[in-house]
């Protein structure tokens, strides 16, 4: 029996309202599918591009222990990229197509990775702040309505929280170190603080996707709520380190039970989103270079696999 789109949409919304997961083979509105492809692939691209700023410090890590931890962390990000591309593929798009969107600049990824990692302390600050901000978003996504995405996020969150502690531990070590190390840590906080707050996206008033995303339980909290949650958690951590958050307007508001904070530079936010951040071009160039230089390898692997399966068919026939 054929159902009208309105009926199916109603059934679909009812399932979401009951807290059921939507699975790959279930009927879903086209817009839900597209929204998920956009969001999951943006997330996957962020993991892959996110390997670059930290990856550039692997060869310079200051101790064997730190080197191994950083290598493992960046490798985890590649793994997260894999789960997420696979989750996006369940919605009927190929990994190659998603890569094409990234490489041509059509797809977005988290703007934070368009900032340069210029000192070892940035490995601490990125883990502490960037992974910290990401976790706040991602813990919410473990309960998102699309099953394959939610399940990928459960595993990703476990690893991310490990990364965050690892980053904070780098900061603690620096802050317990020499004056030079403390300065390095403060400088990293100064540079990563505001971009980390921008990771939650535009204010609710400016956010174009929030309302629909809340209805479909893709998001369960608004950008501003998540940003506030991040600030409230992070300020005591900065105080413990003895570092100063670079915001003169920051102060505890007893009445609200939250920290008040200064105005985010939205001009800078949009500049980076639109492709004019400090490293946008370098990041895309690095991804394109790896992809283009790897083309002959992927072609060879495919050709070899085809020859092998042809051999199997012949040997079965004989």
């Amino acid at each position: 029996m054929e159902h009208s789109i309105e009926y199916l949409e109603k059934q679909f919304q009812d399932r979401i309202d009951r807290g059921e997961n939507i699975e790959a083979k279930d009927w879903m509105p086209e817009k839900y599918r597209k929204t998920h492809i956009r969001q999951i692939s943006q997330h996957a691209h962020s993991e892959i591009v996110g390997m670059l700023p930290e990856g550039n410090w692997i060869s310079r890590a200051p101790s064997l222990r730190r080197k191994v931890a950083l290598l493992a962390k960046v490798q985890d990000e590649a793994g997260h990229g894999l789960y997420l591309y696979s989750a996006a593929e369940t919605l009927g798009i190929s990994r190659d197509e998603l890569f094409h969107q990234l490489h041509t600049g059509k797809a977005k990824y988290s703007s934070i990775f368009n900032y340069p990692a210029v000192s070892w302390a940035d490995m601490g600050a990125i883990g502490w702040l960037v992974d910290g901000a990401a976790i706040i978003n991602q813990v919410m996504l473990t309960r998102t309505s699309y099953g394959p995405y939610a399940r990928a996020m459960v595993r990703i969150c476990k690893e991310e929280s490990f990364h965050q502690r690892q980053g904070y531990e780098i900061m603690i070590t620096l802050c317990n170190g020499t004056e030079e190390q403390k300065e390095m840590a403060q400088d990293a906080l100064n540079r990563w603080w505001w971009p980390s707050l921008m990771m939650f996206g535009p204010t609710d008033a400016e956010s174009t996707h929030t309302e629909q995303s809340m209805k479909w339980k893709i998001k369960r909290k608004t950008n501003d709520e998540l940003r506030q949650q991040f600030i409230d958690i992070t300020i005591p951590q900065a105080e413990f380190l003895g570092l100063t958050v670079p915001d003169p307007d920051l102060k505890w508001n007893e009445e609200r039970g939250h920290y008040d904070f200064g105005e985010i530079d939205w001009t800078e936010f949009w500049q980076v989103v639109k492709g004019y951040g400090p490293c946008n071009k370098e990041r895309l160039k690095a991804r394109n270079k790896a992809w283009d230089e790897g083309a002959w390898v992927r072609e060879a692997a495919l050709a070899y696999a085809e020859k092998q399966s042809a051999k199997k068919i012949i040997s079965k026939a004989v």
Partner: protein, 250 residues
């Protein structure tokens, strides 16, 4: 201090460290996510081995030596890795060929070190061989895949084999320290390894349709601390933090 044992540990650790470093340079730049993850995994395994060897070397050396002082504070001439492992990541064909040429040796070496009468080396070898069996399977499979994939991949593999084969002999050519360690029942018998090594290597190359260079010349020097010009750049990268900010805790 037991000088020969210390030097032998440096030789074992340096090979893993410099190859691990070369692989780590590729993290985030592999031809596919799967190969990126695999190469990083091998780098991680190798650095794990480095830590085991250098923690032991630090004990042997005594004073206030640590795994990091040994890893980060030696000059070019004090590094005893073979020339093969410092060769650059020219392209994926070179990466795979360098890896297979080393893995084949590494596997044979560790099989023998699993019998070492030095308890520490014996234990490190037993742990490492599990990892190196995987590295060997990975690189050998890719040798075949690329040699027999497309014309382009075949040509690139031939270029890589021609350029890297002359670095292979040094691996199994015993120097004084290695001979002394063999005599003490600690080290491996490199003469025996050499025969098996070239049986495997030449057998594979012929099987997958690649030619080894006809000239038969080989390079040496790394094991005595005389490296290629690549090495100084590796160290300036590797030691940057320790040299710029001496005596700090990270």
């Amino acid at each position: 201090m037991q000088d020969n044992l210390y030097t032998y540990l440096l030789m074992l650790g340096d090979n893993s460290m410099i190859l691990g470093h070369r692989l780590s340079e590729l993290c985030g730049h592999g031809p596919s996510l799967e190969t990126d993850i695999a190469l990083t995994n091998m780098s991680l395994d190798l650095f794990g081995q480095v830590r085991s060897y250098f923690q032991y070397a630090a004990k042997v050396k005594g004073d206030d030596a640590t795994e990091d002082s040994i890893a980060f504070l030696r000059t070019e001439r004090k590094h005893l890795s073979s020339l093969l492992v410092e060769q650059p990541n020219t392209d994926f064909a070179h990466v795979i060929t360098r890896q297979y040429f080393f893995d084949q040796y590494h596997l044979l070496l560790l099989e023998q070190l699993c019998e070492s009468n030095d308890d520490q080396i014996n234990a490190i070898a037993k742990k490492s061989i599990k990892e190196v069996k995987y590295h060997h399977r990975f690189s050998k499979t890719w040798m075949r895949r690329l040699a027999q994939g497309t014309d382009v991949s075949h040509q690139k593999m031939q270029v890589a084999v021609t350029s890297l084969y002359p670095y292979t002999e040094e691996l199994s050519k015993a120097n004084g320290v290695e001979k002394a360690m063999l005599a003490e029942g600690i080290g491996a018998d490199l003469d025996a390894i050499k025969v098996q090594y070239y049986n495997e290597l030449d057998g594979l190359l012929s099987d997958i349709g690649l030619q080894k260079p006809e000239e038969g010349y080989f390079y040496k020097g790394g094991k005595e601390g005389i490296h290629t010009e690549h090495f100084g750049f590796i160290l300036s990268d590797f030691q940057y933090m320790q040299r710029t900010y001496p005596d700090m805790t990270w």
